[in-house]
């Protein structure tokens, strides 16, 4: 039987029709991954514009571009957009697009759940941005400390929207995490044992475990705060036995692991790119894998370092300071492995590689300022100053945005079929990198000079003016750099060079498919015998009898968790709009709770339950767990 017939058959099975129903109901991981990335980029731009407004307000002493109330809302929205609606979803987007291709599966383990988590992510972002549209955005910073956030001090709907949108985003993130874990543990290509899987799977898997274990703490916080705000309970009301530290303990028990949720998958992407552009296998594969998992583990034991100034006992502080310093060791191991790989290889300085090297430089600085901040006396001095703002931007912009831009240059050819412009990529890198240093290195000095974070203006005579101006100029340069990449992306979609299957001569399975990949992924489910399937002699899709085509339906292979031996055949669900309807139901329920419209809540709950019951009903044709 000819290959073309098989291709046609698989395409007919897997292709999403270009209709409205197809667009709203697609469960294709490639389509959903790209949507995740695009939506997260919109939040990056929104958060970026908010950052520029902040910087314009702080240009000189006694700035009056924004009122204090507006300033509070804008810096809070900046942080929420970046930390929650950009940094984590964009990494999920890359993982959703790449994980099935990396392991040779035809889709994720739960494709409809995947569609649901996308819609829930989108609707949660809309829920959050209802606030600024009404002029009632959350205004108490991204960690929303009580008592500022109680209804007595913050009567607008802003904090209610904060609570409900985070609950919806948490549902989305948790669903995604479950999906990743089951996919990574059950659906790897035959032969891709746990010691042969690409490092990105370690980081995505670790991120998923962290999400499943830590996000409930945020949900508990949101539930308690919303009960306090709307139903007059007393979790945080000191007069009735409540306590503000209850919020801080639970929030940071979630909050610090969240740092690794937005950082670890990015290190995984770096570990994919470094060996390809160094033209050799990565140094210390096992050490990188182990330190990824250990970062996740120890990440649960450092949250108190956000609370060193709250009057906690010395024993507790010492333990958490030690743990916070320990965790840097695992990052150092990874940094040494990346540098050693480049050192021993022949680095090819593509645009993506520029961002990779820039990332390593920034994460070393950010890591060092982090270790410094873990020293308790120093923390007491610089807490709530611009030093902390500098640190968080070194680790989050350095540790998340730079890897994401690298990944954009590296994987866009796989997604669109066309390479992005290398020359403009390098220009964009240098502009972003220089602007970044101007903006954020200066913040260290400004912090030590005493400027507190989150003040809407400052008086003259403190000599803070020129540093703030440098920062503002730097911020605009960063924005220009990112704008160049965005323009480059859209220009290259039309005019970029045709990528072909594997433009970088990379080693992992996603590059064995066409660019962009056909709806079914690879023709034969591949088999793997080494860590570098495309660099070894073994032919992945060698399948003379056609046992690995699986064109008897929408099928993919399930393998054992450790050794990846073929075990069974998984049926993959068809396109459906039920996930969209379920996410819409949750959106209405939570929105109605935020605005105290309980009459809408009950019918919305009923609607959501009916959708879920229909969704989960086993269908003899395409049944799916």
């Amino acid at each position: 039987m000819s290959t073309t017939v098989v291709q046609q058959r698989l395409t007919a099975l897997w292709e999403t029709p270009k209709t409205l129903h197809g667009w709203l109901g697609t469960v294709d991981h490639k389509e959903l991954g790209k949507r995740y990335i695009a939506t997260a980029m919109v939040f990056l731009i929104l958060g970026g514009v908010e950052a520029l407004l902040i910087r314009l307000q702080l240009w000189g002493p006694q700035g009056n571009l924004l009122t204090p109330e507006m300033y509070d809302q804008i810096f809070t929205m900046h942080a929420l957009s970046m930390i929650f609606w950009y940094a984590s979803p964009i990494l999920s987007g890359f993982s959703i697009f790449l994980v099935p291709l990396l392991i040779g599966a035809r889709d994720l383990a739960f494709p409809r759940l995947n569609a649901f988590t996308y819609w829930a992510f989108l609707f949660s972002g809309i829920l959050l941005y209802i606030g600024p549209v009404l002029g009632q955005a959350p205004d108490a910073g991204w960690f929303a400390y009580v008592p500022y956030t109680l209804s007595r001090y913050s009567p607008s709907h802003g904090l209610d929207l904060y609570n409900v949108s985070l609950v919806l985003l948490t549902i989305s993130t948790t669903g995604g995490a479950i999906n990743f874990l089951v996919t990574i543990l059950r659906m790897r290509a035959p032969g891709m044992s746990i010691s042969k899987m690409p490092l990105m799977l370690y980081s995505t898997g670790t991120m998923s475990i962290i999400a499943i274990l830590s996000l409930p703490a945020l949900t508990a916080c949101n539930i308690m705060l919303e009960l306090d705000r709307q139903w007059q309970t007393h979790f945080f009301d000191v007069a009735r036995g409540g306590h503000p530290l209850l919020w801080q303990q639970l929030f940071w028990f979630f909050g610090h692991p969240w740092v690794y949720i937005v950082f670890l998958p990015a290190t995984g992407m770096i570990s994919m790119m470094v060996p390809v552009f160094s033209r050799r296998p990565i140094v210390g594969y096992a050490y990188i894998a182990a330190s990824t998992v250990l970062t996740g583990l120890v990440g649960f034991g450092v949250w108190l370092h956000h609370m060193f100034t709250t009057g906690i006992g010395h024993l507790g502080m010492s333990f958490f300071a030690a743990a916070s310093m320990t965790i840097s060791i695992f990052t150092i191991i990874q940094v040494i492995a990346w540098v050693a790989t480049m050192w021993l290889g022949k680095p090819v300085m593509t645009a993506a590689m520029h961002y990779v090297v820039g990332f390593i430089a920034l994460i070393v600085v950010g890591g060092l300022s982090g270790v410094a901040t873990a020293v308790i006396p120093l923390d007491w001095q610089i807490n709530d100053s611009y030093w902390v703002v500098a640190h968080i931007h070194y680790v989050l912009v350095g540790g998340n945005l730079f890897p994401v831009l690298a990944a954009l240059y590296y994987w866009t050819p796989k997604m669109t079929g066309r390479l992005m412009n290398e020359r403009w990529g390098k220009i964009s890198f240098w502009v972003t990198f220089i602007g970044f240093q101007l903006a954020f290195f200066t913040m260290h000095i400004l912090g030590v000079a005493g400027m507190p974070r989150r003040v809407y203006t400052y008086v003259s005579g403190l000599h803070w003016g020129w540093m703030n101006q440098v920062i503002t100029v730097g911020a605009f340069i960063v924005a220009l750099g990112i704008l160049i990449t965005i323009i480059n992306f859209f220009w290259s979609r039309k005019h970029g060079a045709i990528a072909g299957n594997d433009p970088w001569h990379a080693d992992t399975l996603e590059w064995s498919t066409e660019s962009p990949p056909p709806p079914y992924g690879s023709l034969h489910i591949p088999t793997v015998i080494s860590r570098h399937p495309l660099w070894d002699e073994h032919e992945e899709e060698e399948d003379p009898r056609g046992e690995c085509i699986l064109d008897q339906g929408r099928l993919t292979l399930v393998t054992t968790p450790l050794d990846a031996q073929p075990l069974s055949i998984a049926r993959i669900a068809k396109d459906t709009i039920k996930p969209l309807l379920a996410a819409l139901g949750l959106f209405v329920i939570l929105g109605a709770i935020a605005f105290r419209m309980m009459l809408i809540v009950w019918p919305a709950i009923l609607f959501t339950l009916i959708v879920l019951a229909l969704w989960l009903r086993p269908n003899p044709e395409t049944e799916e767990a």
């Binding site: 039987m1 759940l113 035959p190 499943i212 007393h234 036995g241 699986l550 008897q552 069974s568």
Partner: protein
């Protein structure tokens, strides 16, 4: 195990090449999914128990608050534990192919769950006379945990009813007990949470005061 359902290419005779490399239909993903879902739900209760201990410790509530009464919570525990055993027995029957017995056990479990909710109603109407969610932070966390558990009982009951009314129980492409098994896992989880709720919220303060 009886769960291995053979993948039958005869039903899908569209291709002329040999059947796939393995011929067993996967049923593990759903169970893995529900186990991870239960894990994250369990963490939510752990966080609320942490909040409970935090507030109790800071305010010394176990010394100053009235002891929670046990005359409803312990029978409620008995009802739930019994329901778990009934449901597990039912699952064994389904695995043997005795579907009617399985459905009977499922119905019985749902009735026991509803009885639990009725007891919750009685317990709350009595308890609310002395302590309300708005009395102080003790009342707030106490009723939040108990209500959240009650909510989980409702969700568990909805899952079990969904399986109960599921038409497609005949062994078609999937072992019939799989949805049964997954809903049962969730129900056992809900029961286990109540063991901790009774132990921590009801029994421990009583023990503390009698020491």
């Amino acid at each position: 195990m009886s769960s291995a359902v053979v993948f039958d290419p005869g039903q899908h005779r569209v291709t002329d090449h040999p059947p796939p490399i393995v011929q067993v239909v996967d049923q593990s993903r759903g169970t893995w999914g529900i186990m991870l879902f239960i894990t994250t739900e369990a963490c939510l209760f752990v966080m609320l128990f942490v909040a409970y201990f935090f507030l109790v410790q800071i305010n010394g509530y176990w010394r100053i608050e009235e002891r929670p009464k046990l005359h409803y919570s312990l029978p409620m525990l008995a009802v739930l534990v019994l329901s778990s055993f009934v449901l597990h027995w039912g699952e064994q029957q389904v695995k043997k192919g005795l579907l009617n017995k399985g459905r009977l056990a499922l119905g019985l479990t749902i009735l026991l769950g509803l009885f639990f909710l009725f007891l919750t109603y009685l317990e709350d109407t009595e308890h609310l006379r002395t302590l309300t969610p708005r009395s102080n932070s003790y009342g707030s966390i106490f009723y939040t945990i108990v209500s959240l558990h009650g909510l989980h009982v409702c969700v568990g009951l909805l899952m079990l009813s969904w399986v109960f009314f599921l038409r497609q129980w005949e062994p078609a492409q999937r072992a019939p007990h799989r949805p049964y098994h997954n809903a049962a896992m969730y129900w056992h989880f809900v029961d286990t949470v109540w063991v901790f709720v009774v132990g921590i919220l009801y029994v421990a303060p009583n023990l503390y005061k009698s020491l």
